[in-house]
């Protein structure tokens, strides 16, 4: 897939090159994970975290187009890539002084509020600091215009990972030609199906209630092509993602999820780290060790470490720290060490490292189920919500099925489950009996117990609860102390979860945090309404979809 380095582009005025099929982030990660960005409010050095196009850490400007995710963009020859939200550079950013002056956080709710000249000037100053990139140039936006894609089909499968491919293949074998959407930039073809790669499903409203039941799905194809699909059946196989974790410096450059680490460690490139600390002792940690174990220094797990991880680690001389609290990642512009503490107040340890790989829990990509109004349930093992499914993959919305890890199944069950789902779709049957209990969570992390201990660590109030908007843990605690309750209200009070990832990374942690602070279970704390679109969708992509008067006159 990845070819010779033959794509020459400029990065901050200097020539660089990328291989064919390589992302910009990968091309810039030559020896270590790069610092490309400063956080939005305090201008802290902020690294690429997710590697799958959600977080703020790799936003750059390309050819006059702001907020381009370097991890989702393949440089074209001649591209001009610059940085945003830092002056003069991400390494030395004068605005970093804001965070130094106000280490406990700027109180935007109660600060300067008299209708005086000083307030006007302050307001003007603060407004200047807003936003990440400057507005696009007209040329930058118009370069994106592309004709839209519209399809009317029987079945659309969302996601072409293991489960999505299995169900698509099974449908093809039964004579159904599904449309398959895959967010990955270069998915291998699915024989007999129409595969749209680099395409993200962003909005699945409830199906029209009158007449024949059909779904209308909005999606977009990189960089800005609008996609609209009508389908009778929708099979969601969106899988999951590696969650973030609360600790000091949790968005320092060098802290990455396993998703990012695995995508950056793709041969022939060596991984952009030499001495990583892997957080987690379950299946995902095993995958990281398998792919880039030679560049791992230690495995730190909130709970026990699985025997296969222990074996893989001891083969390579990797240190093991089971039942440990990760307190902080140190290093100003790049992670240089992590500080640990054995659970329940044990001894503290410092490990020198150049990356922290978060592989402790995987959370389902369940946004589409919330949008469509399907019943969801709290999965305490992973500490997140997922769709409620029956044994044949049916959800509470007729015509909507879930398969794979988003539905709580483990990879060994995908093939069998694909047959069952296909059978239900082809025969048009409704829900079957209850699903076998979903695959148990990975390592038994006793999530709430772990977070309870974290909240006793001195100085945790200055940790970052929401990296996209720079909300500190202390601000969330303050909101609860002032009597605001429930995640919907805390979100609006603190702005937590309203940034570019729309809470994908901060919400799973915030739910646990609030559950402890409010003294009730996470489901009682609530869940932020999952608002469309699932990922930021260029206006040009939406605008390219022609009006359908029949639909637009009577929206669902």
């Amino acid at each position: 897939m990845v070819g010779e380095p033959d794509r020459s582009f400029s990065f901050r005025g200097r020539p660089r090159s990328a291989r064919d099929g390589e992302t910009l982030l990968s091309a810039l990660s030559t020896d270590r994970i790069p610092l490309l960005h400063r956080s939005i409010q305090y201008h802290r050095p902020q690294g690429p975290l997710c590697g799958i196009g959600h977080c703020t850490g790799c936003l750059v400007r390309v050819n006059g187009r702001p907020n381009v995710r370097a991890c989702r963009y393949e440089p074209a020859p001649g591209d001009a890539v610059t940085i945003e939200n830092a002056w003069p550079s991400p390494t030395w950013d004068l605005l970093g002084a804001i965070g130094l002056i106000k280490p406990g956080g700027v109180d935007s709710l109660h600060g300067l509020r008299r209708p005086a000249l000083a307030t006007r000037l302050y307001q003007r100053f603060v407004r200047r600091l807003a936003g990440t990139g400057t507005a696009p140039t007209e040329a930058g936006s118009q370069a994106l215009s592309a004709p839209s894609v519209e399809r009317s089909t029987e079945v659309v499968v969302i996601g072409a990972g293991g489960a999505g491919r299995a169900v698509a293949a099974s449908l093809v074998a039964r004579g159904v030609r599904p449309v398959v959407l895959e967010r990955g930039l270069h998915p291998p073809p699915v024989d007999g199906a129409e595969l749209l790669g680099a395409t993200t499903a962003v909005f699945l409203p409830p199906p029209a209630e009158s007449g024949e039941r059909r779904f209308t799905l909005l999606a977009f194809r990189e960089p800005a092509q609008g996609v609209r699909i009508d389908a009778r059946w929708v099979v969601v196989a969106t899988g999951g993602y590696d969650a973030s974790l609360l600790f000091g410096g949790n968005d320092r450059p060098g802290v990455v999820t396993a998703d990012a680490a695995l995508s950056l460690a793709t041969p022939p490139r060596p991984p952009p780290f030499r001495r990583a600390v892997v957080v987690g002792g379950g299946r995902r940690a095993a995958e990281v060790l398998e792919t880039c174990g030679d560049a791992v220094e230690a495995v730190v797990a909130p709970g026990e470490i699985r025997p296969d991880v222990v074996r893989a680690a001891s083969d390579r001389g990797i240190l093991l720290y089971p039942r440990s609290l990760l307190l902080r990642a140190d290093g100003r512009k790049h992670v240089r060490s992590v500080r640990l503490c054995a659970r329940s107040g044990g001894t503290k340890t410092t490990i020198a490292c150049d990356a922290v790989i978060l592989a402790h829990r995987r959370v389902p990509h369940a946004q589409l189920f919330f949008q469509v109004g399907a019943t969801t349930e709290w999965r305490s093992g992973v500490g997140a919500y997922g769709p409620t499914v029956t044994a044949n993959g049916a959800t509470s919305v007729p015509g909507l099925f879930a398969i794979g890890s988003v539905a709580g199944f483990s990879p060994s069950e995908f093939a069998l489950h694909a047959e069952v789902v296909t059978d239900a779709v082809v025969r048009g049957t409704g829900p079957a009996g209850p699903a076998p209990s979903p695959a148990a969570g990975e390592a038994p992390t006793e999530l709430l117990g772990y977070y309870r201990e974290l909240l006793r660590v001195p100085g945790h109030g200055r940790w970052v609860a929401c990296p996209c908007v720079d909300v500190l843990v202390g601000e969330v605690e303050r909101a609860v102390r002032f009597g605001y309750r429930g995640i919907e209200v805390i979100k609006r009070y603190s702005s937590l979860g309203s940034g570019i990832c729309q809470g994908r990374y901060c919400l799973p942690d915030a739910l646990l945090l609030l559950s402890i602070l409010e003294g009730r279970t996470p489901p009682e704390v609530g869940y932020i309404t999952q608002r469309p679109p699932v990922v930021p969708t260029p206006l040009a992509a939406l605008a390219s979809l022609p009006a359908r008067s029949a639909v637009e006159g009577v929206p669902p």
């Binding site: 939005i40 187009r65 702001p66 907020n67 709710l109 109660h110 600060g111 300067l112 509020r113 008299r114 209708p115 307030t119 307001q123 603060v126 407004r127 807003a130 936003g131 990440t132 400057t134 507005a135 696009p136 140039t137 007209e138 936006s141 118009q142 994106l144 409203p205 409830p206 209308t216 800005a224 609008g226 609209r228 002032f482 009597g483 429930g486 919907e488 609006r492 009070y493 570019i500 729309q502 309404t529 608002r531 469309p532 679109p533 990922v535 930021p536 969708t537 260029p538 206006l539 040009a540 939406l542 605008a543 979809l545 009006a547 359908r548 639909v551 637009e552 006159g553 929206p555 669902p556």
Partner: protein, 387 residues
């Protein structure tokens, strides 16, 4: 949870900005004990879903005056309530696409200017100076009033919420009013999902649900709940100062203090509160076409989230303020269309007066609930229900 008392002097239904402000004025006038109930959480209704615009450009003098008073109140808000609402007075710009629309806006300008507000009429070049990158030929001109502006709705809500609580007002969230009890032809109490409460006065400040509440009290009212949608984009460095409103289709957008473009568009949604807080593909695509058509440079900007809320519309576009003559003790503080937040400070003061049984300075022909009871000629209509 039950309530702290068996009965209250006043029960305000709706803990949105109108209900809370009304409770605030009532409490300050010594009208307690007061209970505010809301079926959702704080900010769950339109007060947590609006775009934060505050304008004084209207087609009827009564609305202009309420709006002007509200602007003054929001300027003082930080001092009075201790919260910074980031009220930024950088203007509302109304755009005309043709001469007929410009003539209509000129009339607005004449009225607004006669109330002492320095509104201006702009030609296409004047508009282009305010909106960097506007598509050539997109407009023939418009009107602009710099003292209009935008604010951040949430801190305003927190500010009034904390103020009423410190004044001893009880706020019960997650409590739905199921009915209003009448005795001897006047209000005697309300029946809630948490049990009955005695009161002699009910204030209906339920926004999009106010029509439902009146009907539960046995009162037929012409309020219609209509779903309106809105979206926010990724945050950009500031490039747009005013709130921009297009007269033809109601497209409106501004750039928030955080840098997001926040805006909406009037779509012909079917009336009713049943659609919930959903968004529609039709809105996303129509809004994107309108925005990119007007400001082509926005094409590559990502839409971050979309949501919707309920307008509480009346046939003549004026709020309904005052006691309902059919049920003494039942006071209306509703019908503010999509402009409850911007008009709340001024209207709430008068709703509180009405709840205390005191006269207000409002023209009854325009604002009283009586105007819908007798088949009388319509006094005036406020049609500038945009943005």
């Amino acid at each position: 949870m039950t309530f702290a008392r068996d009965s209250y002097r006043t029960v305000v239904v709706g803990a949105g900005i109108v209900g809370l402000f009304t409770a605030y004025h009532l409490a300050r006038a010594g009208g307690g004990p007061i209970l505010v109930v809301d079926r959702g959480f704080l900010s769950s209704g339109a007060s947590g879903r609006n775009g934060g615009g505050v304008r004084q450009q209207w087609e009827a003098r009564g609305t202009v005056r309420l709006a002007r008073e509200s602007v003054q109140a929001y300027r003082r808000f930080g001092v009075e309530f201790g919260f910074n609402i980031w009220f930024r007075q950088s203007g509302y710009l109304f755009l005309a696409e043709n001469d007929a629309e410009l003539a209509r806006l000129r009339n607005v300008h004449t009225l607004v200017a006669s109330e002492g507000l320095p509104s201006r009429v702009l030609d296409a070049d004047g508009v282009a100076r305010l909106v960097d990158g506007i598509a050539p030929g997109a407009t023939v001109g418009g009107t602009y009033l710099e003292s209009d502006g935008t604010l951040y709705p949430f801190p305003a809500l927190w500010g009034v919420y904390e103020a009423v609580r410190s004044l001893g007002v009880e706020v019960a969230l997650g409590v739905e009013v199921l009915g209003v009890e009448a005795r001897d032809g006047r209000v005697a109490g309300v029946l809630t999902s948490k049990g009955p409460v005695g009161t002699s006065t009910v204030v209906n400040a339920a926004g999009g649900w106010s029509g439902d509440l009146s009907r539960r009290a046995g009162l037929e009212v012409p309020n219609v709940a209509t779903r309106h949608e809105i979206l926010a984009t990724e945050a950009l460095k500031p490039f747009l100062d005013p709130m921009v409103v297009r007269a033809s289709d109601g497209l409106y957008f501004s750039q928030s203090m955080r840098g997001e473009i926040i805006g909406g568009l009037a779509l012909p949604h079917p009336p009713g509160s049943s659609g919930g807080a959903r968004s529609s593909p039709a809105f996303l695509t129509a809004m994107a076409r309108a925005l990119v058509g007007l400001l082509p440079r926005l094409g590559s900007v990502g839409v971050l989230r979309a949501w919707s809320g309920l307008y509480d519309d009346t046939p003549d576009g004026f709020p309904v303020i005052g006691e309902d003559p059919r049920l003494p003790g039942f006071v209306h503080g509703n019908g503010l269309g999509g402009h409850g937040f911007m008009l709340a400070p001024a209207t709430s003061r008068r709703i509180a007066l009405a709840a205390l049984g005191q006269p207000t300075d409002l023209d009854p022909a325009q604002f009283s609930p009586k105007r819908f009871l007798a088949p009388s000629p319509v006094a005036a209509v406020e049609r500038l229900q945009l943005g």
